[in-house]
Symmetry: C2
Subunit: 308 residues, 2 copies
């Protein structure tokens, strides 16, 4: 198998992509990343999922908190507070360099995809990281308390308000970023990372052209389950599924991806269930680097098996 394309969101997806870079040559991997979480904060363009992947692949991620840089300092936030600035979203001092440079380049007319490619090159990342789109798309959460922009729901409100629906503002007019459709069309295997299907993968699938490219591609499409024994490893997947009227299990997620995926990698702890697609099982909990490599290999093996 030579070319691997991964659709991914934040932390969980970044773990899988890191595992992949140790299972196959990193040059053969393209990660297409959700940008529905992107937002402007204090005038700075922040791309949380892309940055998590950049930090993870560059070996700069903070392993404890699951976002931001290792060894980060917080002089900016402390001065911001003195000045009465909004402090609900944490911006580390080193992290700010990404946001300042990205905002500056965007204002000068550079595309997000080109900026991210520059950052990845500067950090010696061999895998290709592509935003799902260079056009602004904003994930908006319709909650019992009204409509919240994603980061307000996720960070400021800690996913507390019950979700009624999710929409992706701007997606109708958006185009896939350069390289996205090509990476899907030319892939030998396509993985959907164990990211939140509704918040991280759905925005990606909503970009006009991406779903059709996946349906029409020659590669097997394998999803890795983001739930283990009815619980999400991290984040609001299980709570969200309950609020959206689903059981938080692999079968419900496989049905959510119905028509799109050829195989599903499920955790070995999950009870047996009738999946509408081919199934493989392994321990999908990714705590160590070895875990990440194991899950990546299991997903690739399923793709290989289905390719026949």
């Amino acid at each position: 198998m030579s070319r691997i394309t991964v659709l991914t969101g934040g932390v969980g997806g970044a773990k899988l992509v890191l595992g992949l870079t140790r299972a196959v040559p990193a040059e053969d991997i393209t990660a297409i990343v959700n940008t529905g979480d992107d937002f402007e904060h204090l005038g700075l363009a922040v791309s949380p999922d892309i940055d998590t992947l950049l930090y993870t692949l560059a070996g700069k991620a903070n392993p404890e908190q699951g976002w931001g840089r290792a060894g980060e300092s917080w002089g900016f936030m402390s001065a911001l507070r003195e000045l009465g600035g909004e402090d609900w979203f944490q911006l580390g001092d080193g992290d700010l360099a990404l946001h300042v440079l990205r905002s500056f380049a965007l204002r000068q007319g550079e595309r997000l995809s080109a900026i991210i490619a520059r950052f990845a090159r500067a950090w010696g990342i061999a895998a290709t990281i592509v935003p799902m789109s260079d056009d602004p798309i904003h994930t908006m959460i319709e909650t019992e308390e009204g409509v919240l922009p994603f980061q307000h729901y996720f960070v400021a409100r800690r996913c507390e308000p019950a979700v009624r629906a999710i929409r992706f503002e701007g997606v109708g007019a958006a185009k896939p970023a350069p390289g996205v459709l090509e990476a899907i069309g030319s892939a030998d295997a396509i993985l959907i990372a164990p990211s939140n299907p509704f918040l991280s993968i759905d925005p990606l699938l909503a970009v006009p052209g991406i779903r059709a490219a996946l349906v029409g591609c020659r590669a097997s499409v394998i999803a890795v389950s983001p739930v283990i024994g009815g619980k999400a490893v991290k984040g609001p997947t299980a709570k969200l599924m309950a609020e959206l009227g689903m059981k938080a299990n692999a079968a419900a997620i496989a049905r959510h991806y119905d028509g799109l995926i050829d195989g599903f990698l499920v955790d070995e702890r999950d009870p047996p269930s009738d999946l509408p697609v081919a199934e493989a099982r392994c321990d999908t909990l990714m705590l160590s680097l070895d875990d990440r490599i194991r899950v990546a290999r299991a997903a690739l093996a399923l793709a290989q098996r289905l390719r026949g």
Copy 2:
């Protein structure tokens, strides 16, 4: 004497204003600050002279380097370098909070003067700090190597290229910021800080209306000499004066301010010279806080004497 207005640039001026706040009630002081050094760096609006004054009056200035914050950290600069960002201008982590909040507020349409007033309030600064103008003015240095924007001349090129002329781009269309002309008109004493006359005070005087307000005001206008024994305490004043064909002494500076000032506070070490205005002498070197208070008092005493 009740209301004191100071025209000021960067470090030297900030020292005098700090001394003033310990000599008279800080509420009675208005500092009108040069913004010709302001520039946009990496998309951030930086106001070096205003920030130096803010830091000095808030007790947050770095006493060694003469700019920036005490106890500053440098995580941003180090990450910026990793990413190949321009690193000739130092932006400390805490310092960034000022620049990010200012840039954000300016983009939202708030005036610089209103933003600075907010910052000063947040830091409990009782003196009034007013930019010379809310309109963009850029000090441009015509050097033997071509025209350089101020910060490129001052920071990136360390004042090395010989200066032929100085101009203030945009000043013709600029208006004094709200409060500037009032602070001059209502003042009981006006001080010109020992800042660089050509780089820090001239841009201020070039804003339409400010020079006329000074000439027509009821207060005595007192300049504090920025040279001591033919040398500038800090910065390029002496070198610049030589390049502009002047001797770097108090008399040359008094002549530069001719028609504008009523009195000149000269260092006691200076040789006697025929000044075109009333003179007072003291030790004008401001190393300690006591020095700053002494110089402030001497300048106010000269103003008082001339008011007589």
